[in-house]
Symmetry: C2
Subunit: 181 residues, 2 copies
């Protein structure tokens, strides 16, 4: 795919934060001209689709500052640097929902916004979860509330845009496709 | 949902670019403590799932600088400020694929990465496309190549991670769910 490649002439880090790093690159385009690329660097993330014994899906309700609103999402979280995504998934599941599992099934992975960000999202399913008495606490600046819904209820949440993000919408469509409930 | 709300104490714009704006907010958390939020502002985007008369899905192959690799994606693009997403969809379809339509069906919308970005993605399906002789040219710094695949071929691309982004993976799962091919 050499004919599409953009060669980096110059890289500048504009901001190096807790969650994102913003970098602006000057590139040479395939036709020899130059352009700028704004790039968000992110360590990647996981989302977990936890199903209870009662066949309910476990979500978390969370305020999302970028949107200034509350969304209902599957539990999710950001990879620590160099962390195995499965480890992140186990940790985030416990911290956000108070459930633990030792069986994760890989569902899919995808870049969330490949035009400007390198965030890769890894999705897992678990149908074997146990409540944890002394669940690990999550990040101290994160406030989440567990919500358990049937697939039909979740589909209604999608219609009402209370569920309204890529990983969670994908998860609902995936569960529908399994026709498992 | 007042109990989850994070109040903005201070906003600072770190970078205001062509594609993204990076803003760092100081917020008051529900427990009264303070924290920082890194926020990417984006005008939103569309993705279009175009189906040909021969029942093939029209994709575009494109170099994605953040990933330093070529992905196969459904045609997509960024909203101009205040633009109606359907207008963006018609424009991007023509610019990126050389096809035109006047019938778009809304499929779904979702935030691509609600933890740090406000980008909202709108997905449309069109099963009624015509090749345009004198198709409008796209952005001059964008190099894309049209690829038409059957659903089975596209599913293989997902396995091979040549298709590997949220909107396109969602689109494939959606088409599978329609069992239309």
């Amino acid at each position: 795919m050499k004919e599409f490649e953009e060669k980096t002439i110059h890289t500048e880090t504009i901001y190096d934060g807790e969650i994102v790093k913003l970098q602006v690159d000057d590139v040479t385009l395939p036709d020899g001209k130059t352009s700028k690329r704004e790039l968000i660097r992110h360590t990647g993330a996981v989302g977990i689709i936890p199903i209870t014994k009662e066949n309910k899906i476990v979500f978390v309700k969370q305020y999302r500052k970028p949107l200034e609103k509350v969304l209902v999402e599957i539990p999710a979280g950001k990879l620590e640097d160099g962390e195995d995504p499965e480890m992140t998934a186990l940790r985030e599941l416990e911290e956000e929902t108070g459930y633990r599992t030792d069986s994760l099934k890989f569902v899919a992975s995808f870049y969330t916004s490949p035009g400007f960000a390198d965030e890769l999202m890894h999705l897992y399913l678990t149908e074997d979860i146990e409540p944890v008495e002394d669940a690990a606490a999550g990040d101290e600046d994160e406030f989440v509330e567990r919500v358990e819904l049937t697939l039909d209820e979740a589909k209604q949440y999608v219609k009402d845009q209370r569920i309204h993000d890529a990983k969670t919408n994908y998860a609902i469509l995936y569960l529908e496709s399994l026709e498992r409930m």
